[in-house]
């Protein structure tokens, strides 16, 4: 069983830092997803693990071995590429078996292995075809079979589903999941699709601009985002984030003179520039006149079918709420919202870190280790 340890891993191209010192422990047999917007350095990180990119500084260990100076072939990783990277001039069988051929495995043994792996991903009827004659999903399977046949210590996936259509993507997700359950091989999966990340991951690594923003289980990342970036990036529709400050009178001031009463604010949060966040699904519509309700004016409505999104203005700040009622509601009409303090998230505007609403202390460190 193989763990992967990244310690202060950095990558620098000429003069720009792409990855700034990443420290992560990936446990043996774990399925970890690295999630982030394009250009955040997630693929670079994966390629450094694979050995396709040089590590500028820091160390990467696979198992007990520091692999910084090992060639890709010596690291025991298999990789599924974004564009499959199948050898177009070889048949499916040759594609799957190439690594074995390179390793000098005798023909008979090789053929048997290829057949076995091909069966496990239902590619058996296509063994003699060229990749060009296969559908997108079949090519994807060849790429996975090629990775599996070597029985690697680590699976690396570099946005493998980005060329598939939505339906196939869901199917492949399930396949990868069950594959992992069956083989139990440590896997690192890079994607920019948060649904994919949420559904696949044992643990998520959220990256932004070369920095790890948060590491945690999908539910943790969703429920207790460690930073403003994670809060904004995870979840659709995105979390409502309202900039302002807590005044001495216990009111949160925002927008054009907006005031929201929030109880039990830690004293050291007072008069600090912060962002207060609440997920749209945690914003409730309440009848007019409800005590403590926030008065808003509807900007527009987005119908989703089962529910609708209300985009409303609260004294110059935008609030989005998920609403399942179906009364007539239109632009310019008043609405009233409420939410639980427990659903609130507070972030420092200085460094974007999560602040604990009760203690006012930065919560990031604690969360990352969670």
């Amino acid at each position: 069983m193989t763990a992967i340890t990244l310690s202060s891993v950095k990558k620098r191209y000429q003069k720009t830092d792409v990855v700034h010192g990443v420290d992560v422990e990936i446990e043996s047999g774990e399925f970890v997803v690295i999630l982030g917007p394009s250009g955040c350095g997630k693929s670079t990180l994966l390629r450094m693990i694979a050995g396709l990119e040089e590590i500028t500084s820091g160390t990467i260990a696979i198992g007990d071995t520091v692999v910084n100076n090992l060639e890709p072939r010596e690291r025991g990783c298999a990789m599924v590429f974004q564009n499959y990277a199948l050898y177009p001039h070889m048949s499916v069988a040759q594609n799957i078996g190439y690594a074995l051929k390179v390793a000098g495995m005798p023909r008979a043994e090789r053929d048997a292995k290829v057949l076995k792996v091909a069966k496990s991903v239902s590619l058996e009827p296509y063994l003699d075809r060229k990749p060009g004659e296969l559908s997108g999903g079949q090519r994807q399977r060849v790429a996975m079979a090629r990775a599996m046949v070597r029985e690697p210590k680590v699976f690396l996936f570099d946005e493998p589903f980005s060329n598939l259509d939505a339906k196939l993507r869901v199917a492949m997700r399930a396949e990868v999941r069950s594959l992992h359950r069956g083989l139990g091989v440590t896997s690192v999966f890079v994607t920019h699709d948060q649904t994919e990340a949420m559904t696949l991951a044992d643990r998520l690594i959220i990256m932004n601009a070369g920095v790890v923003e948060q590491v945690g289980k999908p539910s943790e990342v969703y429920n207790r985002p460690a930073s403003l970036f994670v809060a904004d990036f995870i979840g659709s529709p995105a979390m409502n984030l309202v900039r302002g400050f807590f005044a001495d009178d216990g009111y949160f001031r925002h927008g054009k003179g907006g005031m929201i009463h929030l109880p039990t604010i830690a004293p050291n949060l007072l008069s600090k520039e912060v962002s207060v966040g609440v997920r749209p699904e945690n914003v409730r519509r309440v009848p007019a006149g409800t005590k403590g309700a926030i008065n808003a004016v509807v900007d527009y409505i987005e119908e989703l079918g089962a529910s609708r999104l209300i985009y409303a203005d609260v004294d110059g700040s935008r609030i989005v709420a998920v609403d399942s009622a179906n009364d007539a509601l239109g632009t310019g009409m008043p609405v009233h919202f409420a939410f639980d303090t427990a659903d609130l998230h507070v972030f420092s505007n200085d460094d974007g870190r999560r602040l604990d609403i009760a203690t006012g202390l930065a919560a990031t460190a604690a969360l990352i280790n969670a």
Partner: protein, 294 residues
């Protein structure tokens, strides 16, 4: 790819294409058909136009042992020059494709031979290989008479072939490098992940994947050795010694313009044209075949 958006205009497209069409008709189709006409006729020695002689012009060149010797020589020349040039260019391109530091500098120099006029290179190589001059000359000083392209036909042919191969390096290099660079990086990376070492990746992955380019260049080089060799041979050996470097295009020139045998030369032209057309045709068939690769 078919276009959907066109301009509609009665005369404008014809006006635009007319100059090119007229030039092509006057300087390509007319001469080519003239060549056909001459190849099947013979000019009367006492004037009065050409008389139809059927295949006799062809029969006379095909019956001529010296012509067949020329054909064989041309084939050898073409294969040798093409082979040498392509192997060198491919090797250089493979290594240049690794894009180590400073490769750009090497790259731009490798292209230079493309710019050189064949006769100019011919003059330079003639000096380099001149038995009495100071480069090969030093070898002759050690073993007198070991090298003399002025009297030894084999030496002369080798000298011309080497020069032709050198001239082709630039062109071949450009195409090989471009083809290699067009291969997706991820294929090489996949190969590396599969455990193949660089040299093995070259043989197993890169070479088969640029096969279409290899084939394209093969044909282009063969055609070029059949046609572009004239300037080189004229400057270096004038077909000698004793015709040992006389290739098809050179013989055609000598017979047509020195010997004034237009009919014979026209027949030779036709043979050369058919050869070039055949090569081009093979090329097109291959282009069709390669479609399933992509």
């Amino acid at each position: 790819m078919e276009r959907r958006a066109y301009y509609r205009n009665g005369t404008l497209p014809w006006l635009l294409i007319a100059p090119q069409l007229i030039l092509v008709l006057v300087f390509f189709y007319w001469p080519t058909s003239q060549a056909l006409y001459w190849a099947f006729t013979l000019e009367q020695p006492w004037g009065g136009g050409n008389s139809w002689v059927g295949l006799s012009n062809f029969l006379s060149i095909f019956g001529d042992g010296r012509y067949w010797a020329t054909v064989g020589r041309s084939a050898f020349y073409a294969i040798a020059a093409t082979g040498i040039s392509m192997v060198i260019a491919l090797t250089l391109a493979m290594f240049a494709d690794r894009a180590l530091k400073g490769t750009k500098l090497f790259q731009s120099v490798f292209v230079w031979p493309y710019a050189i006029a064949a006769p100019a290179a011919g003059v330079a190589f003639r000096f380099i290989f001149a038995p009495e001059a100071g480069i090969i000359g030093s070898i002759n000083e050690m073993w007198p008479g070991i090298w003399n392209p002025a009297t030894n036909g084999g030496h002369a042919l080798a000298m011309v072939i080497v020069c032709h191969a050198w001239l082709g390096i630039g062109y071949n290099f450009i195409f090989f490098l471009a083809a290699l660079q067009m291969l997706p990086r991820s294929l090489t990376e996949a190969g590396a992940m599969d455990g193949a070492r660089p040299f093995q990746r070259m043989i197993d992955l890169q070479l088969p994947l640029i096969a279409p380019t290899v084939f394209f260049l093969l044909i282009m080089n063969l055609i070029s050795s059949f046609t572009d060799s004239f300037g080189l041979i004229d400057v270096m050996t004038e077909g000698g010694p004793i015709n040992s470097t006389e290739v098809m295009v050179y013989k055609l020139y000598v017979d047509g313009f020195k010997g004034l045998d237009y009919s014979g030369a026209a027949a030779q032209s036709i043979v050369l044209m058919l050869l070039v057309i055949a090569l081009t045709f093979v090329q097109f068939r291959w282009v069709e075949k390669r479609v399933h690769y992509n």
